[in-house]
């Protein structure tokens, strides 16, 4: 009789685990919040995962921020006993800042519904500073944007620019009543919508003006596409996609769409929009137009994986996650659905770290998935290792016989030859492992340049420096390796490139046919001693290619 509970448990585990192993991902571990929903996309410092909860006020439970390591073990957790509303401001992890207001190390910026903006130490959750902003039922609900050595955050009734290092307020501007209306940073200042449908511009002195008026709600950060700002205006039963020309101050209607807009996602040449009815792509050149549309239900955040596929949670009671292939001209291709054992409503986009994906939804469970290959080759016994071992053993026995019959010299000769062959065979793997642990070689520091378009801040920047010219592109959110970024960025720059596969990994030999004495690359000013396929970009980075002779 005792076996029955175990048999039932086993059956439940099988049933629960079965749906996870589909669509190229397999579940590895899960972490359940004691109480609360996961409504915002988890963040990472490249190793750890930071997630926040919203909702639930059961007994002592309050919204919190939790740090997990790569195995799902809690590193620290910080709650907010004063929270009385849902916390939906996405976390922002910043590796470091430097500038006139001071230098800062790693930071986790948290906006709370009780109006507090707090900087936590990502290593232990210690509060480094905290400032209070106004509360009108809610406090901070929108995203936080990085602006050099400052962050910009939409408060309940305005906009605040704060030094990351010190927490000193640079300015506080009054705008309209807002909800989830994060700011967008551009070179000329900051853009923000409000609940009255007004598009605000706040210049770098903190002076706020209304630049356009839409009838509806502007609840997400405007998306920069060239001279245009793309906006998803929410109405009671539907929404409209609008373009605002920053130069001419003119507005243009693009399309009508469904209710409850998702957070738009900037992509090269335009943006992707979601709502309860559609997923829509919009492209801009001199004007903006609807490029493609498909049926979907997504009201939260979206993200692209390392292959460029778009992922978003399906915000229905049945839930699940959809992935869609998006072409370079923003047309939609094959889509697939990933179902898990805890599917329900969801608004948080997946977090991708290397070949891992983390999914969180309103069930309050974070699921870690690892990539698997849908059609693994059937297991075939490879006798190479056994044959190699046998040959090695045979050689050693032969050497022993040789030494016994002739002289020690012949033993050394044989032994040294075998050692050399083995060393040469092991060299590629040894170099790869060794360089992964080797200290970083500092190169020319490539810091953020204030003359670059602010729209690039949320993505990677690619710089290709020739002897006579330097090309750059930015704002890439999709690529997660230097190789992927280089392929995409060079294509956008119109540069041809040559990449050779070697035993040490792929290496780039030429841009536009120019080889010189080789090309080398730096990530945020540090030369990375890894193959471009192995060099991961887990946060917005500046990748700088230059000729090795340019020193």
């Amino acid at each position: 009789m005792r076996r029955h509970p175990f048999a039932l448990l086993g059956l439940l585990l099988l049933v629960g685990a079965a749906p996870l192993a589909s669509a190229g991902w397999t579940a590895s571990w899960s972490f359940a919040l004691d109480d609360g929903y996961i409504t915002t996309t988890p963040q990472t410092d490249g190793t750890n995962i930071f997630l926040r909860s919203s909702g639930f006020w059961v007994d002592e439970a309050r919204p919190e921020v939790v740090a997990l390591n790569g195995q799902g073990e809690v590193q620290w957790r910080v709650d907010n006993p004063n929270a009385t509303q849902h916390d939906m401001s996405p976390l922002l992890h910043i590796k470091r800042t430097s500038g006139d207001c001071g230098n800062s190390g790693p930071s986790l910026l948290v906006g709370w519904s009780d109006g507090r903006l707090e900087r936590l130490d990502p290593s232990n959750g210690t509060s480094l500073w905290s400032i209070t902003t106004e509360v009108d039922v809610w406090g901070i609900t929108g995203s936080i944007a990085k602006d050099g050595d400052h962050v910009v955050v939409s408060t309940r009734t305005g906009l605040l620019r704060v030094c990351v290092a010190t927490g000193e307020v640079n300015f506080s501007a009054s705008t309209g009543l807002g909800w989830r209306n994060g700011p967008t940073v551009t070179e000329e200042g900051f853009w923000q919508g409000d609940e009255a449908g007004r598009l605000w511009h706040v210049d770098r002195n903190g002076s706020a003006t209304v630049r356009a008026n839409f009838s509806g709600y502007l609840r997400h950060p405007p998306v920069v596409a060239g001279d245009h700002l793309l906006l998803h205006v929410q109405h009671a039963a539907n929404s409209t996609l609008m373009a605002f020309n920053r130069t001419s101050n003119s507005t243009a209607f693009i399309a009508s769409s469904g209710p409850s807009p998702a957070l738009p996602l900037r992509v090269s040449g335009g943006a992707l929009f979601g709502d309860s009815n559609h997923l829509t792509s919009v492209r801009c050149e001199a004007t903006c137009w609807l490029e493609d549309r498909m049926n979907a239900t997504t009201n939260g955040a979206m993200k692209r994986d390392r292959s460029g596929a778009l992922w978003f949670p399906i915000n229905t009671p049945e839930g699940g996650w959809t992935s869609v292939d998006v072409s370079s001209n923003l047309t939609f291709g094959t889509q697939s659905t990933l179902l898990t054992s805890v599917d329900t409503y969801g608004t948080a986009a997946p977090l991708f770290i290397g070949e891992r994906m983390y999914l969180g939804n309103d069930a309050g469970v974070l699921l870690a998935h690892e990539v698997y290959y849908a059609d693994p080759p059937p297991f075939v016994y490879d006798p190479a290792a056994a044959v190699g071992g046998a040959i090695l053993a045979g050689v050693m026995v032969g050497l022993a016989v040789l030494v016994r019959r002739t002289s020690t010299l012949w033993g050394w000769r044989g032994l040294s030859a075998v050692a050399l062959v083995l060393a040469l065979m092991m060299l590629p793997d040894a170099v790869r492992e060794w360089n992964a642990e080797a200290p970083v070689v500092q190169g020319p520091v490539t810091a953020w340049n204030e003359t670059w378009p602010q729209a690039w801040r949320d993505g990677h920047v690619l710089i290709v420096e020739f002897e006579d010219r330097t090309l750059m592109e930015g704002g890439y959110a999709g690529p997660t390796t230097v190789e992927a970024l280089t392929r995409q960025g060079a294509g956008d720059m119109g540069l041809s490139f040559e990449i050779q596969d070697t035993v040490l990994g792929p290496y780039l030999t030429a841009f536009d046919g120019q080889e010189g004495y080789g090309w080398e690359y730096f990530v945020n000013g540090e030369r990375v001693p890894l193959s471009i396929a192995d060099a991961e970009l887990n946060e917005p980075s500046i990748v700088h290619w230059r000729l090795a002779s340019a020193r």
Binding site: L424, V441, Y517, G518
Partner: protein, 219 residues
């Protein structure tokens, strides 16, 4: 891979490369030809060794950092003295790089093998009948790391700090280890044969120079 094959340092202009090669050839001339007592037959034998080693180096390029030249430089230094060892090292670097690829790094490779030859000149490796193989093998391991360190200097530029130079050295360690293992294998297989060849060259020149050098140092 963070850098393409062939990244050794700054590219030289044709004029700079010509000046560099001229300086290296002049140093060889000074070391080999200027002394009046150098025999033509010995010069021919040494020249043969230079050509053979250059050819072997070119042929062995596909094997990463297996460098027979290092062991030969060590032996030439040991048997013929520092001056001819340095001349051998410079000539092999110049000739083989003319095929593999010439540049700023040639200077540092020539310096590296020259230092190895000087190290060899201070080494008692025995005679062709009785080679001190273990001592030679040990010296060849040291020579591998010495050569690796000197050639890493070719990557130094204005932005290089002591810490980043150490990082470069550390990154090159796997290749230096292969170099060292290759040296030991070459010593085990080829040292006696090379010693017999080198014994055919008159060592008297070096004896004279060594005596003069020692007197100068004593003075």
């Amino acid at each position: 891979m963070f850098e393409a094959v062939g990244v050794h340092g700054p590219e030289l202009s044709p004029t700079a490369a010509l000046v560099l090669d001229a300086v290296l050839v002049a140093s060889v001339f000074t070391l080999l030809v200027a002394p009046a007592r150098q025999k033509t037959a010995d010069m021919a034998l040494l020249g043969t060794l230079v050509l053979a080693c250059s050819a072997v180096r070119v042929v062995m390029v596909p094997l990463p950092n297996v460098q027979p030249v290092t062991v030969v430089a060590l032996l030439v230094g040991a048997r013929l003295g520092a001056a001819r060892g340095v001349a051998f090292a410079v000539l092999v670097a110049l000739l083989s790089n003319a095929v593999i690829g010439d540049g700023w790094w040639t200077l540092f490779q020539a310096m590296g093998w020259s230092l190895v030859a000087v190290l060899g000149s201070r080494l008692d490796v025995g005679s062709s009948e009785s080679v001190h193989l273990s001592r030679l093998a040990g010296a060849s391991v040291v020579a591998a790391f010495l050569f690796g360190s000197v050639t890493t200097l070719s990557l130094v530029d204005g932005s290089t700090t002591a810490a980043s130079f150490v990082s470069l050295l550390v990154q090159g360690l796997p290749f230096d280890v292969v170099h060292a293992i290759g040296n030991v294998a070459i010593v085990a297989w080829c040292a006696p044969m090379l010693m017999r060849f080198l014994d055919r060259i008159d060592t008297s020149l070096e004896h004279v120079i060594e005596v003069v050098e020692r007197h100068a140092i004593d003075g």
